[in-house]
């Protein structure tokens, strides 16, 4: 039986930037056992030497020419913005350092 503790779920929720109530964390942790059991079936087979498939079609080298096309207008770009100022997206104070 697989399982995931409440704290592990909390850590994942933090990584995924989802604030979860205590109740949600506990609920999800309790459901995760059976979900993990179901998906862990992928480990039943011997997969040594099997290539991983990340793209269903065998395409390679799909590029576009380096040509500039019209951008959105700033009005369009900002049309969905929850808040804006000086033609920029206004967001709450950012913690931490820029990369």
């Amino acid at each position: 039986m697989s399982s995931l503790s409440r704290d592990e779920v909390a850590k994942l929720a933090a990584l995924a930037r989802i604030e979860m109530s205590e109740e949600e964390l506990v609920n999800l942790a309790s459901q995760f056992g059976s979900i993990l059991d179901a998906v862990a079936r992928v480990q039943e087979l011997n997969l040594d030497g099997v290539k991983a498939t990340s793209h269903p079609q065998p395409l390679e080298n799909i590029f576009r020419e380096d040509v500039v096309l019209p951008s959105l207008s700033p009005d369009q770009a900002l049309s969905g913005a929850p808040a804006q100022e000086e033609q920029r997206f206004r967001v709450p104070q950012i913690l931490g350092e820029a990369e």
């Binding site: 590029f63 020419e65 500039v68 997206f89 104070q93 350092e97």
Partner: protein
């Protein structure tokens, strides 16, 4: 407690690791067709793709692939026959998708090297910097922090985001660890970044302007006791935005680490930010735990598998390596070692070469750039490249002097005028009325006037005391406001006073 650099290197050996980010100079962004022009109005160069609007998809810029391969080839790398893009997942407001498309375990180029030469106590010495990988990724947007005292991120009330820069193609060049540079570590690092910059400039794949951020260096530094083969804990210094800062940052970090180690403290593995004003680094926000970036292959993009024939075509296009190029110029121009080093150090080699290619004599071109023009740049505290004088201007001035239409002294006035933004040399000459007085009639009038005013001196010369002519020539030059050719004045004056002119 403050250690000197000599104290540090007497006890410790530095180990470096350098990560250089280069913004490519493609017309359009890495994954969309928005313009990459620097300095546009905020959010005028964005589209559904680089704003990460729901449903938008990336498509790779072919030119960025070509540039990356060129860079790899120029750095003696292997080009991967098959490489992929991956997603690096982390949340940050300047990154619209909240993942960066980058390359993870399959970079496009790997295993290369760059040789750099620096001056040591024992003369010029070469160091080999091994390249671990060259990979492609995309830049982030820019944030403006509002409120708070400093305009910095700390204490800001809110931030304003613009995404013109988001998605500009970046190439990251990562070295293997660089041991064995000893006390020359800062110089080697600087020479490496300078060499990279010259290589990239030669490839014409980037503007390589450190001050505009199109070339950025992160420096990893650690110390170990001399003789030890255990690596010390490293710090990663970001925000190093000039060649000089590379040197200063590394030197500073070496001293900081040594002080900690000497006190029996541990060096923290962390990101630090270089402060241009103090030359010191400041600790970044330390993260509670290492980021888990959850890399996985980017499903929206297919693998890059450059054909061997294409790679060979690109290899054939590679320009001369900067080090060879410098060697050739040194020989062609017959420049002494010291002068060559001065040009490299002052970063005027390219500009001198350009001036020479426009017809100027190499020595004259070098003298102007290294002399008068460097002096003005220093005075104004700006980079020579940012002065408004161009190689074409200098070549024109050199030609005017050669044709005796300007004297050296007048030429300096012209240089000053061009730098002051008064126009081309020809325009400055015209506007300022600068002209060599080579109209013998006008000169003779001045000579006669001076000889009359200083009859006594004139008489001495007439009697064969030629050295006395100096004062008269000076007076004539003054009379003609320095626009006369002194040699011609001398000739005419001596003739006028019945003396031989040679």
């Amino acid at each position: 407690m403050a250690l000197s650099y000599d104290d540090v290197i007497a006890k410790y050996e530095p180990v470096l690791g350098l990560e250089v980010h280069v913004e490519l100079n493609t017309e359009s962004k890495m994954f969309c067709s928005c313009s990459t022009t620097f300095g546009g109005e905020p959010n005028t160069q964005t589209c559904p793709v680089c704003l990460a609007l729901p449903g938008a998809l990336p498509v790779v810029n072919a030119k960025a692939i070509e540039s990356s391969i060129l860079i790899g080839l120029a750095l003696n790398c292997q080009i991967a026959p098959y490489s992929r893009f991956s997603r690096k997942n982390y949340f940050y407001p300047d990154m619209p998708k909240n993942f960066q498309i980058s390359q993870y375990d399959e970079p496009i180029c790997f295993d290369g090297f760059v040789d750099v030469e620096i001056q040591t106590d024992e003369g010029p010495k070469q160091f080999r910097i091994e390249i671990e990988r060259v990979h492609m990724e995309e830049d982030t947007g820019k944030s403006l922090h509002v409120g708070g005292a400093t305009g910095r991120i700390h204490g800001a009330e809110y931030s304003l985001l613009a995404y013109n820069r988001a998605g500009i193609p970046l190439v990251e060049i990562v070295t293997k660890i660089v041991p064995g540079t000893g006390k020359y570590a800062p110089e080697v690092a600087k020479a490496y970044v300078a060499e990279l910059r010259d290589i990239l400039r030669g490839l014409k794949v980037s503007d390589v302007k450190m001050e505009q951020g199109s070339l950025r260096c992160d420096a990893n530094v650690s110390l170990r006791l001399i003789g030890s083969d255990v690596l010390g804990t490293r710090s990663e210094t970001k925000n190093v935005n000039s060649l000089r800062s590379v040197e200063r940052a590394i030197r500073g970090e070496m001293i900081r680490h040594a002080e900690l180690l000497n006190e029996g403290k541990k060096v923290k593995q962390e990101t630090r930010h270089f402060q241009e004003d103090t030359g010191l680094t400041r600790s970044g926000r330390s993260k509670e735990q290492a980021e888990d970036y959850r890399y996985f292959p980017e499903p929206d993009l297919v693998p890059v598998a450059p054909a061997a024939t294409w790679i060979e075509e690109l290899r054939a296009q590679l320009p001369e390596r900067p080090s060879l190029h410098r060697k050739r110029l040194k020989e062609q121009w017959a420049v002494p070692d010291k002068e060559m080093a001065a040009m490299i150090n002052a970063d005027v080699l390219d500009i001198v070469e350009e001036t020479v290619l426009l017809g100027a004599d190499p020595t004259k071109a070098r003298t102007w750039w290294l002399g008068e023009i460097s002096r003005v740049a220093n005075e104004k505290d700006i980079a020579i490249a940012d002065l408004s004088i161009t190689p074409k201007d200098v070549a024109e001035i050199v030609a005017l002097v050669a044709a005796s239409e300007l004297t050296d002294k007048l030429a300096r006035q012209v240089v000053e005028g061009v730098i002051a933004g008064e126009g081309t040399p020809a325009e400055v000459v015209a506007k300022r009325g600068i002209k060599v007085v080579n109209d013998d009639g006008a000169l003779m009038a001045a000579i006669e006037k001076v000889c009359a005013e200083q009859a006594e001196t004139a008489e001495k010369v007439r009697n064969g005391h030629v050295p006395a002519a100096g004062a008269l020539i000076g007076a004539v030059m003054k009379e003609t406001k320095g626009q006369a050719d002194a040699a011609r004045v001398r000739e005419l004056l001596l003739g006028h006073l019945g003396q031989a002119t040679n």
